[in-house]
Symmetry: C5
Subunit: 83 residues, 5 copies
């Protein structure tokens, strides 16, 4: 599972039906790369989180949701470092 910091909610009006009305969140890793994940946990901007991918992502978001990345937990304390 990968580690990211939560950024803003993603606004997306035009989407496939399979995404439903799921909350989408932009995440940023420590190299600055950004991805989009479904958020069943309810994170806030700035939280450090970790994600599950693949079929685990779909099960975690509710299996009907056609995502490949889902936030599965918020890390209680995280020191971002240079690595």
């Amino acid at each position: 599972m990968e580690i990211f910091q939560a950024e803003k909610t993603l606004i997306c009006t035009s989407r496939v039906p399979g995404l439903q009305q799921t909350t989408l969140r932009v995440l940023r890793n420590n190299l600055g790369n950004k991805v989009v994940a479904t958020d069943p946990v309810g994170v806030r901007e700035g939280n450090w989180v970790f994600t599950a991918s693949g079929s685990a992502a779909r099960h975690a978001a509710g299996f009907e949701v056609l995502t490949d990345l889902t936030i599965v937990g918020i890390i209680d304390n995280w020191q971002e470092d240079a690595s």
Copy 2:
């Protein structure tokens, strides 16, 4: 789910039957890497989109389609940055 900017439609006469007559779109990420995705949303060149991979890609494209990457939404506003 990853973030890309849509480029041109891909012209591909010779393909496996499992791809059917699906619309194929060239996508480009912010590092300049290009990939090919199926497009059930109907994007235009220049749109910023995000994609689902794996079995979610096949479900989003119609499960019979043998793709591993499908556009699942168009981002309403996106500022490309250096990250």
Copy 3:
């Protein structure tokens, strides 16, 4: 789906039974990285192609074939660029 240029056929006498007698092709991306894919399309050396991975690769190659990468189409016109 990723974009590659076809190189030579791969010669492989010793293989697992699950690969059967499938044609194997060396592919090269625009960074020079090489991978091996099954080829149900019948490409020629120098063709630009795109591939499906994961379970889509197995369905495209005939589901019994134990591959994780299959050529699913030949691109009609492709200009390799520096990206």
Copy 4:
């Protein structure tokens, strides 16, 4: 399967139900990248381990656990090198 060195246990109070009370471990590869894995083996900080991803990760952790990375073995002797 990838090779990592075990770091500290991850503290995560807020998580999806599908992760259950599984032990989570921060792992670090030889480039310094950090990921999170479930740990059914019981590793100690400093151990060199290898992991399975995808559906194998879920089977190894107990199939109900919504992980995409699970520690599946501890390497008896490992010399980290520059590679």
Copy 5:
């Protein structure tokens, strides 16, 4: 499928039951990155091989084995180059 050169057998006493007594092999790609794969083919140190990942890896190793990477063939002739 990816291309690797076989290195030593991996010694691993403490492992999850799902890995069984499978032979494990350290592989090295042309960038020097090392991974671990199950080996149903019986390779020797120095052989150039290619691997299948994901569910294909489990089928190739015997479906009960919880691996995500399996050696599926030995390449008859391979010239490592700088790419």
